[in-house]
């Protein structure tokens, strides 16, 4: 595996200039002591920072999403207008591109992977680089029950965009009921419950697990390099299971914002747009409560796959086919059918943001404590274009980002956004990405 994150102390400090400098080289918990952010007014307790991703396929109609002005903007392009209620919390990044460096354009794949991993795959096989949400999860999410939670609204677990390298795609939950049971089922410990009795069965399992973890050294010694990496990943996952058991044995601190969501019933899953939207809505409610109850600090939502298989009932073409085959309307100047799909996608995203923004926490909302990164696979899907890719971040991460800005950086690599997100979340890196997508240019105007 090629080391993706190159840094020395100097670049780190440079990257952190004016940013979350306090996080450099300090233990995890100190990440939450955000000097630039707001603490809980009542208790002065440090406020957690959270991170999320929103992925959708097939981009947006060029010229119809970018705000007309750069810097502080007053108006979104029409396809983002549905995000108006959150305008002051949104940053829009336009003009940036994925560099292929002579590699074939893995259509609907290369661009999506580059935005999240910083590297362009050679074939239709993902690179060994992790998606940066996992790096952030390792930085901010180590003390929560789930390092991260992934969902795919289209009902396919592998539509997840979160990966810990080529060997480990974090599978997405596809059923809201399953997600509900996973987070708020039998093993959920209500932090606000007065009663707490550690479960002896959990104690037993935790101590029994050492019979497996103790084998790590011996097993790793016996295998070759590639297998060692895979086994190491297995043992990392096992350690997380151990940590989960450990958490179940400790009485959690009360969390004012934590309430248990209403249960859901088994729903139909699929790629038909109304089904996808409904599942997204249900996922969003559960994820919001999961974040509010500090069950996780990182959520990853794949609204659709990159080759967007969203479809409308009775229609012969999917969103993806629409992007390629629908003529540009000569009067409107864009693809109107595609615009309809984009409206569904951004409408659902607005719903997720509203859920997160609806939970008050301290003097802000859950959304204010987060940075939600939104990305896609193409700038102009019609021609498989990798230029001017629509990217956004929503929320300030408890004051780590300035928001309400439109950054237009024509010709710069998309990785600038990923780099900036990671730095804002306290990942100590100064450079990110590979080949022409490598960058050390933090988007300084958004760093608070």
């Amino acid at each position: 595996m090629i080391p993706l994150r190159k840094m020395n102390r100097r670049t780190a400090l440079r990257g952190m200039m004016g940013g979350a400098a306090v996080t450099v080289g300090l233990p995890i918990l100190d990440c939450f002591l955000n000097e630039n952010g707001t603490a809980f007014a009542a208790t002065n307790a440090p406020r957690p920072v959270r991170f999320g991703t929103w992925f959708w396929g097939c981009g947006l109609n060029p010229g119809r999403w970018e705000p007309t002005t750069v810097g502080e903007f007053t108006e979104f392009g029409p396809e983002l207008a549905v995000l108006d209620p959150f305008k002051s919390k949104v940053n829009v990044y336009s003009g940036m591109k994925t560099f292929l460096d002579g590699k074939p354009n893995g259509v609907h794949f290369s661009g999506a992977i580059c935005c999240t991993t910083g590297a362009v795959p050679t074939d239709l096989v993902p690179t060994d680089h992790p998606s940066f949400d996992t790096v952030i999860a390792d930085t901010i999410g180590q003390r929560s029950r789930f390092r991260s939670l992934e969902v795919a609204c289209t009902g396919v677990a592998s539509h997840s965009q979160s990966r810990r390298g080529a060997s480990a795609l974090n599978p997405a939950e596809v059923s809201p009921l399953a997600l509900y049971q996973r987070v708020f089922g039998d093993e959920f410990i209500d932090p606000n419950s007065a009663e707490f009795t550690p479960d002896p069965k959990v104690m037993v399992r935790k101590s029994a697990l050492s019979v497996v973890t103790d084998k790590r050294k011996e097993l790793l010694k016996q295998v070759g390099a590639a297998d060692r990496e895979r086994l190491d990943q297995y043992f990392t996952s096992l350690r997380e299971l151990e940590q989960q058991l450990d958490l179940q044995l400790r009485k959690p601190a009360p969390i004012e914002t934590c309430t248990i969501p209403e249960s859901v019933t088994e729903k139909e899953i699929g790629t038909e747009i109304e089904t996808v939207k409904e599942n997204c809505r249900l996922f969003s409610k559960i994820l919001t409560h999961a974040v509010a109850c500090d069950q996780t600090r990182v959520i990853n939502i794949a609204f659709a796959d990159a080759t967007s298989s969203l479809r409308v009932i009775g229609g012969t073409q999917s969103h993806h086919e629409f992007t390629h085959e629908e003529p540009v309307d000569p009067i409107l100047g864009y693809q109107p059918g595609v615009a309809e799909f984009n409206a569904h996608i951004m409408g659902s995203f607005a719903g997720v943001l509203a859920d997160l923004d609806g939970v008050k926490e301290g003097d802000g909302t859950l959304l204010d404590s987060m940075i939600m990164f939104a990305s896609t696979d193409h700038g102009y899907a019609k021609v498989h274009g990798l230029e001017n890719m629509p990217l956004m971040s929503i929320g300030s991460g408890s004051g780590r980002l300035n928001t309400g800005l439109h950054v237009n950086a024509v010709g710069d690599p998309v990785t600038r956004v990923g780099l900036t997100m990671q730095q804002a979340m306290g990942v100590p890196i100064g450079t990110w990405g590979t080949l022409s997508n490598e960058t050390s240019k933090t988007i300084t105007e958004v760093i608070a």
């Binding site: 396919v156 996952s237 390629h324």
Partner: protein, 558 residues
């Protein structure tokens, strides 16, 4: 063959040290260690084999990954993610709980504890060493048994329940890497220092996962234990028994499900307004139909592989009967059906599993069908669409002069940039156009008669029947299945070094009259199947493994 291959010898630095000498490069063999993660079917089958079919498994399994055309190759690249581990934990707990439950303990636990509320190391040891052997596909060492018994005893004491303690120990076995990954152990080949040989238990696993898609049976483990698998004669005896078993169908089905990309059925859906007949159940039945057709044709009927493209004999359910528009017995589930001579359907390409799987939700795609045929069954690579193509010509879908897919694609392929690839895929795909996206037969599209004339590598034909006959005579499908099956068998992409082996397999396959079991038999009775060049381990070996040469000890670095 190594004399010690019958013993369970872990591949330790000592084993390598005796095997690896300086200057052993240049061997023609190219096997290497693979450790595939168990897939869902294998996991479920192992649990059913070991604990019986009444154990409910439930759960969600991590998605598999396709590499070099096969999930079986991808399995060697995947690991377990944190959320995957969470699931394996839950599934294992659920299984362990059922195994030790009052309902099952009498039949599954071979002894009774001295007291149900206390630890009983002896009884726990009996159960755990037996279950451990079947789950790990090799006997547990004494110290391993001791460790697991200790878990059982400590847990039983803490919970005041022998069975709960035993369940905890069983759970640890089932979340162990030795269970979740196929692990292969190598021992020195006494006859050839350039080679490492799979130990007998690893041979048993390779055989069993390939031929039956299951963990080794107690009988095969016994053969490993008593040294039967140390000679090719002994291996062949076991192979012939396994080939004669009805369980061979499981192995063959698992191969073809992989080769034909049937994992895509998990997300297959058709527009419910346009194709109301097509349901989740139809998709399931369609998948099953093709697997049944193949297993029946290749094993039961002892058919020629090339005839899978022309066979009219298949299996239908009443639901499939309604899609195919043929009369079947509504009261029977699966039934043999033979399409009459002259019917537009013959061969697996005319089945719903192919025509529906390689179509869009709302309409067919001759391009996707042609591409699938080239890639899945002929092992050819169709290039990706170019990066900056303007699809202006396909924009004309609403144009009333383009009624059929052929009209639209002809217009599209008039663009030289597009023509290159579409020439590779479309002429074959267009021959299947009388099967709509749900696999149902049609004569027209938008009122225009469908023309199903097609061409493949210079041969012109008409319709699915003509396509099937053309493929039957084409050399690519038989070459392809040999390559794919071998790659599937060894769990890795083939390399140049495999060429002689591939060539031999191809000639054996042809000589047998393209009998699929004969091809399988030749693979599993090949020395190459059980050996790894020691040299290849140099790039694989852990950096601190000391390897001996005849003159000095050198440290191998990656």
């Amino acid at each position: 063959m190594a004399e010690n291959a019958g013993m369970f010898v872990k591949w330790t630095s000592a084993a390598v040290a005796t095997a690896t000498l300086v200057g052993v490069a240049g061997t023609a063999l190219s096997a290497e260690i693979t450790r595939g993660r168990l897939n869902e079917v294998q996991y479920r089958r192992i649990v059913a084999d070991v604990f019986g079919p009444s154990i409910d498994i439930g759960g969600r399994f991590e998605p598999e990954v396709r590499r070099d055309g096969l999930m079986a190759v991808g399995a060697g690249f995947v690991s377990v993610t944190p959320s995957g581990m969470e699931e394996f934990d839950k599934i294992a707990r659920n299984i362990a709980q059922q195994v030790v439950s009052e309902e099952h303990r009498a039949s599954l636990i071979p002894c009774t504890p001295s007291a149900p509320n206390k630890a009983d190391a002896k009884c726990a040891g009996t159960f755990l060493s037996e279950a451990g052997k079947l789950l790990f596909r090799r006997p547990l060492s004494n110290s391993e048994v001791k460790d697991y018994v200790k878990v059982a005893s400590q847990s039983a004491d803490k919970l005041g329940d022998f069975y709960a303690g035993l369940g905890t120990a069983l759970w640890t076995l089932m979340v162990s890497p030795e269970f979740l990954f196929q692990q292969e152990h190598l021992v020195a080949d006494a006859d050839n220092p350039a080679l490492l040989e799979l130990d007998a238990y690893s041979k048993a696993s390779r055989l069993s996962f390939l031929l039956w898609n299951a963990a080794p049976s107690p009988e095969l483990l016994a053969a490993a234990e008593n040294g039967d698998l140390n000679t090719m004669e002994g291996v062949t005896r076991q192979v012939d028994k396994m080939l004669a078993s009805p369980r061979l169908a499981d192995g063959i089905r698992s191969f073809f499900a992989d080769m034909l990309g049937f994992d895509e059925f998990d997300s297959l859906a058709k527009d419910s307004e346009l194709f109301p007949k097509f349901s989740f159940q139809v998709a399931n039945d369609a998948r099953e139909q093709t697997l049944r057709t193949l297993a029946d044709h290749l094993v039961v009927q002892k058919g020629d592989y090339r005839d899978i493209f022309t066979t009219r004999r298949t299996f239908l359910t009443p639901l499939l009967g309604s899609i195919y528009g043929v009369a079947v017995n509504p009261d029977a589930a699966w039934q043999v059906y033979e399409f009459p001579e002259g019917d537009p359907r013959s061969g697996i390409l005319s089945q719903v599993s192919f025509t529906a799987l390689h179509s869009h939700p709302g309409r067919t795609s001759p391009t996707l069908r042609g591409k699938a045929l080239r890639e899945l069954l002929m092992c050819q690579i169709v290039p990706q669409p170019p990066g900056a193509v303007d699809f202006t010509l396909v924009d004309e879908t609403d144009n009333s002069q383009f009624k059929t897919a052929r009209d639209r694609l002809d217009a599209h392929a008039a663009e030289p940039m597009c023509a290159g690839c579409h020439r590779i895929t479309d002429p074959m795909g267009l021959a299947l156009e009388k099967f709509d996206t749900s696999g149902q037969y049609r004569m027209t599209e938008h009122g225009a008669t469908i023309d199903t004339s097609g061409a493949l590598d210079g041969v012109n034909f008409d319709g699915a029947v003509g396509l099937g006959q053309t493929l039957q005579d084409h050399p690519a499908p038989t070459d392809c299945v040999v390559n794919r099956l071998l790659s599937f068998s060894v769990g890795r992409a083939l390399t140049k070094a495999d060429d002689p082996w591939v060539a031999r397999l191809q000639s054996v396959f042809a000589d047998s009259g393209y009998q699929f079991p004969a091809l399988l038999r030749e693979i599993v009775t090949s020395e190459e199947f059980y050996h790894v060049p020691a040299e290849s381990m140099r790039t694989q070996a852990a950096p601190y493994v000391k390897m001996a040469s005849d003159t000095s000890t050198q440290e191998i670095r990656k």
